[in-house]
């Protein structure tokens, strides 16, 4: 009975750089101790607004990449989409501003033990954690075909980085402003139909993940999806980020995406039932009062 997330640390880091790219901001922060332990697919949570903040919940961000050496010791990068008060505050921070970080959190992507053929699918800034993943897969000699997509060009993320570490890179936009007009899953189906694929890795919006899992499973291809659920704590104590997941015993349980995820096997998630307690879930009350 190892403690959950053993190895996670709470540290006071410091902002090194905030770079705008399209609709997003890349934050580089010092995170001594966290960096050395991070594996692809894990995330950090960040305290919002300083000590006197009225925003009491931390925000979770997938780790894009870590640098364990250099003049600042360990640094890590994550991508922020400013959509609310907390994320807007974060993107306005400047070099040397303090930041409270907890991580690395969650289960990482499962990596193949052999040099297999992989397809990586990223939607919006969900492509960020795929950078570190692609590097690890290439180190293992894997073929890495990457697809990134968004509704429009300004919301694409990671093109240059992923081009460098992937065997091939395909871009899609729904409005046709960059790459192929269409969705990432259209490009995924093309690859699945034409080549031998052993595993699909995906990170992005839930509807995209549902399609990736469905198309992969239908062709008996193993998929690993990084889910995005709103979390209050990120460390497994609040029970807000649960999803219906089918276990090896065939029983559906409401599992925490922060500690039992955020990476789940695509064929284990009951995608169309997210936001409900599906019938047959362990502990579902038969009759509601």
């Amino acid at each position: 009975m190892a403690p959950m997330n053993s190895g996670a640390l709470q540290v006071n880091g410091e902002v090194l750089d905030v770079q705008r790219t399209g609709k997003y901001f890349v934050m580089s922060v010092t995170a001594p101790g966290i960096v050395e332990r991070t594996q692809p697919g894990q995330f950090v949570t960040v305290g919002m607004g300083g000590e006197a903040s009225s925003l009491i919940l931390r925000r979770a961000f997938a780790i894009q990449r870590v640098h364990s050496r250099g003049m600042y010791g360990g640094t890590l990068e994550f991508v922020v989409s400013p959509v609310g008060k907390g994320t807007e505050w974060l993107t306005k921070l400047r070099r040397h501003d303090p930041l409270n970080l907890v991580g690395p959190l969650g289960k990482p992507f499962t990596l193949p033990t052999k040099a297999v053929s992989c397809v990586l699918v990223g939607g919006g800034y969900g492509s960020a954690p795929l950078i570190m993943l692609a590097e690890s897969l290439r180190d293992r000699g894997c073929r890495v075909d990457t697809i990134i997509g968004a509704s429009t060009e300004m919301k694409l993320y990671g093109e240059l980085e992923l081009k460098r570490v992937s065997t091939s890179l395909t871009l899609t936009t729904e409005d046709g402003t960059a790459g192929i007009q269409g969705r990432t899953t259209d490009a995924l189906v093309t690859i699945l139909e034409s080549a031998q694929v052993d595993v699909v890795y995906a990170c992005g919006p839930m509807p995209m993940l549902a399609s990736v899992a469905e198309e992969s499973t239908a062709r008996k291809v193993f998929s690993q999806c990084s889910v995005e659920e709103s979390m209050a704590c990120g460390i497994g104590v609040c029970m807000t980020c649960v999803l219906p997941i089918v276990g090896e015993d065939g029983v559906t349980r409401m599992l925490r995406s922060c500690v039992e995820g955020p990476i789940f096997r695509g064929d284990r998630v009951r995608w169309s039932d997210i936001g409900t307690i599906p019938d047959g879930t362990l502990g579902k009350e038969v009759s509601q009062p």
Binding site: Q10, I235, G236, C238, M239, M254, T276, G283, P289
Partner: protein
Amino acid sequence: MTGAVIVYGRSSDHSAKSAVDFTTSVGSLDLIAPILTASGCAASGRELDNYFDITAIGGVVTKSIMLAPRSGRATPRMAETPSGMLNSIGLQGPGVESFIENDLAWLQQRGVKTIVSIAGGSAEEFGKVAAKLRVAGGFDAIEVNISCPNVEDRGQVFACRADTAAQIVQVVRRNSDNRIPIFAKLSPDVTDIVEIASSVAQAGATGVSVINTLLGMVIDTNSMRPALAGVTGGLSGPAIRPVAVRCIWQIRNALPDLPIIGMGGVRTGHDALEMVLAGANAVSVGTTIFNDPSAPMRIQDELEHELRSRGFTKFSQAVSYAHREVDRTLQIDTPTDAADHTDEVWDFISE
């Protein structure tokens, strides 16, 4: 406590830098320190042991456990609010048998002072959970979460009426070992919290845990629908702290000897001190853990500093201190600088 007399004396065996005696007793529950985790905010302590030594705080109050495994409510289960949050988890949990086998076993092996929070949809269920725990043993107290819907009464929560609250406490008392302290966790959503506190005390509760969340609601202005799948949820966090302080004050004022575990929005040692001064014999830290996983330990350290800087040498001296009668002749009501009070000791004699 009301009617307390302050004896202003001198002592030669301590200085401002000496550690505060942090031990506290909440009824028959003895704690090495006054800070606990609040139920539902720390699971069963295992996750937090990663961020601080879980055995160094007063103890862990576990997430409310019911008889059978329970899936909880659909998502979204949470919404952030100004200085707080709303939750509607629906008591997701593995059921008491799995809890005993896994969580309680871990807590016991780790040597954690454990207060088990129990819940039920009926008096019968509360009784069964308590009975199973009695057989298992290996814990130090029970907190009865009476803020759950009564399936036999249109889902009205037990905590909102004195008779139903007392009935649950009675059943739990009957099904528990006599030596096990029992705390009833009260809801602030009542007209007269003192009435509820009195009735659970008469029904056999050792003390009360004050307060549970307040019922609240958030509407998502994008979807223009309730933000939570469960529509309403429990409000917690610093936003509710003044309500908690008021409830503790009122109960302490009416029931000078009733053990109280205070909770509700405690974020710092300063906040914890406020509750202690209002009458809490121990303080639970809840939602703040989501913001800062090491908060219970940090708050405990901060509380020690707050006590010392006010000249207290024992935690117990600060309990209910805000209720003392103002003594105008001695002018010792606000010892703000510890250096001025290095040779002073405070004793309180309750009448």
